[in-house]
Symmetry: C2
């Protein structure tokens, strides 16, 4: 390892220029989902490619089924044996409306104090993801200026469809996987644990969605005439849904927990030490008692345990008042949040078998599989990449980063895993009140500065004299 | 008892005139629910009042909150000590559309052969209820012609709101109960058991409707972010609904069966002897296996056992595809079919307590009571009125009438019970394929003739030489 002292000094010294470059980027209204802004997306991609060229990378724009993908490739002079890093970010932003709720115009970035009195850059995309992706580019710039070369091969990949449709980059990667050999993917699009404590996200839950319809009588019937001997599909469906969990909140579908590993004791210990205020967290949504699987903390339930949720249900009469109908069918939409080790396809099959085994002889069932599949992902906390990030963040912030999980999936992480066979390490510097997707989106000036410094420290972990 | 031989001969002899009078009545388009036809309803009521006057009854039209009510009162010369009979029918009919599906115009009655080759009167209202109510009036007419007087006091009550809103006659009877002393109500608006077997309906199930909403988090949440420690109201509601019945189909709400008496062994024996083809009955609606309360035949389940049905359910996302929402609330609409002895108000209370006892600490519940209450009704099979009808029908058809139940409530029966404290005996001659409420409604010529003859035989049961 090379001590990054000189580079850190360089970063602080030329920070105004870093900010100026970020402001240039923030001025592009690169709303990927809006065809009226597709020209702006291309201009943003061209600007980024020019930046990468300026850093000495081989930059190009690649056609996708969506917005152009920005690629920058770099190999140090003595590349043999050096690892290959893939860095990912996205230049597309959420639409800015409602515009009247913004204090300053969304594409006219300005620095002012946030509610907590801290200087922040206000603009659409400030934290999601332009500010965050620039932390890595600015770190690379300063490192290259001081040392002349990076200690790894690098591919920078910046897409323009993250906010609209993950299918574009997925199909691009699927078709061109061989072009992107990599040992690790770094993604800068996540939050810190809190204002003082950095975080690395190594766990994401996957999701399997399925719709189940129970069909009883072939037509809706009068519940007075037929009530009694006729199967009621709402009752049948309710019984099936009620049996998905046991009294302890554990899912009863045979084989559901196959492959689920407990989290490492060290990780559990760290999560316990966070003293996550479950009551306060639930209080914000009008609840107070953690429900769910007994024997696991609320945090573990959200970050590392699989779940079965019913997202919607309907059947029979749903209008005002009463109607004495005995309905022909009832439908529920479910999603299963999955963790590493669970196979979504197997669980889809197991759920279907579970439903069928509980179906009265006379009822039929129909499944809709269009809800899709994604696997849960966990990067072992002890890989050199995670360790490098952990050490670097601790040096920068003076505190051990929290090894976080996320309850939801990030599609590009799964695309990397599936097509490139590469694990992602998610390091980000956003704060929980940065308002991504909302008016007055911001990124703290300090997040930007310490983000650049943190990446520099991560780069340093791989450098030798 | 007087043998009705002479009257029966008179009936057969002047049957063409009876048909002609029915045709006159059928030509009125007395669609009670349609304001455009309210004039026709009044004309129909006036025509009926004139008929009653012609029979020597004191006839009048009474104002209600709906269409005019036709009343005809009769007292024989030596009325002292004679019972008082209330006869009920309705002159309003269902709308006739879709008109293009009628073989002949709905208000231009004609006799032609039905699908089974039997002569039938085709017209809207032919069986429901003009043909049926006229059976009693024509029987009275012939009896009076032969014998000069009826063997009981009589009030004929023919309403014009049966198909649209039972509240009109209910509020009328509630306010004027004292005007209508009666020992029994005969109602002619039901079916025979089958083409050869007459029926008396003495049991009707009541109905209690209630809507229950379970409320969890105060807003819809992302099921990835919150799935685990947050209560899902669809799951909570499903569990509650699933626990309403035990594995044997028995309702588990404490006190639910309080007051429910088993049916008399003789009645059960008759029902068993009917060899009700449950498989065929269920087969017609796409099912095959009787569900419901174990230990009871399908017929008993429908006619004499209380039920709990879920008529509708909704919550969360119900559109196409998948949405990872953890909804704030879920709602189910239930109706409980009740039998004699059960108190709808107590059961409403018991259900609410049942739900609350199963509610996780954090969830709230909201009930909507607008579904209304009605009690189950059973007329003891051994009253003189039921016995008279039974004997008379057996004489006419050569077969014991089936003592039927009905799974649904007939509101006017409950109004009679509640306000006039009088039991109803339901005797009707419709066939199951008569299409009331549908195009090509019909009433068999033979139903009309034997209906008149049957009422004559019932009257004869009370006559003395």
């Amino acid at each position: 390892m090379v001590h990054p002292k000189t580079v850190l000094a360089e970063i602080d010294q030329q920070f105004p220029q870093s900010l100026a470059r970020l402001f240039e980027l923030l001025r592009f209204p690169s709303i990927g989902t809006d065809p009226a802004h597709h020209g702006d997306c291309r201009k943003t991609a061209e600007w980024l490619a020019a930046q990468l060229t300026g850093l000495g990378f081989k930059a190009e724009l690649r056609k996708t089924t969506g917005q152009p993908l920005v690629l920058g490739r770099y190999a140090p002079p003595k590349a043999a044996g050096l690892p290959h890093v893939l860095f990912y970010g996205h230049y597309d932003v959420q639409p800015a409306d409602p515009l009247e709720l913004w204090t300053s115009a969304p594409f006219a970035p300005e620095i002012r104090k946030g509610k907590d009195g801290k200087d922040a850059i206000f603009a659409r995309g400030a934290c999601d993801d332009k500010g965050q992706l620039m932390t890595f580019l600015e770190a690379s710039r300063s490192w290259l200026k001081v040392h002349g070369s990076l200690p790894f091969r690098l591919t920078v990949m910046i897409e323009g469809d993250e906010e609209s449709d993950p299918a574009h980059i997925d199909s691009f990667l699927k078709a061109r996987a061989r072009e992107f050999p990599a040992d690790v993917a770094f993604i800068c699009d996540t939050e810190m644990w809190d204002g003082r404590t950095p975080a690395i996200n190594t766990r994401l839950r996957g999701c399997m969605g399925i719709e189940v319809s129970v069909i009883g009588p072939k037509i809706d019937l009068h519940s007075g005439l037929y009530g009694g001997p006729v199967q009621n599909p709402i009752k049948v469906l309710s019984r099936i849904l009620a049996s998905v969990h046991d009294a302890k909140g554990r899912i009863t579908i045979p084989g559901f927990y196959d492959g689920v590993k407990p989290i490492p004791p060290k990780l559990r210990k760290q999560w316990e030490s966070l003293k996550f205020p479950a009551k306060k967290f639930l209080g914000e949504v009008g609840l107070s008692v953690p429900a769910g699987e007994q024997g696991y903390s609320a945090l573990e339930q959200m970050w590392a345990r699989p779940t079965a949720e019913v997202n919607g249900i309907y059947g029979g009469y749903q209008g005002p008042g009463s109607k004495t109908v005995l309905p022909s069918e009832a439908t529920a939409k479910l999603t299963f949040r999955l963790v590493e080790g669970q196979d979504p396809k197997k669980i889809r099959k197991a759920f279907k078998a579970f439903v069928k085994s509980r179906l009265p002889k006379d009822c039929k069932v129909r499944f809709d599989d269009s809800g899709g599949d994604s696997s849960g992902i966990a990067v072992p906390e002890g890989t050199p990449w995670v360790n490098a990030a952990r050490k670097a963040l601790k040096e920068e912030f003076g505190r051990d980063p929290v090894m976080m999980g996320a309850g939801y999936s990030i599609p590009v992480v799964e695309s990397f895993k599936k097509h490139l066979k590469v694990d992602s390490v998610l390091v980000g510097f956003a704060k929980s009140d940065d308002n991504p997707h909302s008016p007055d989106e911001k990124y703290e000036v300090d997040s930007f500065r310490r983000g650049i410094r943190s990446w520099t420290r991560i780069i340093a972990q791989f450098a030798t004299e």
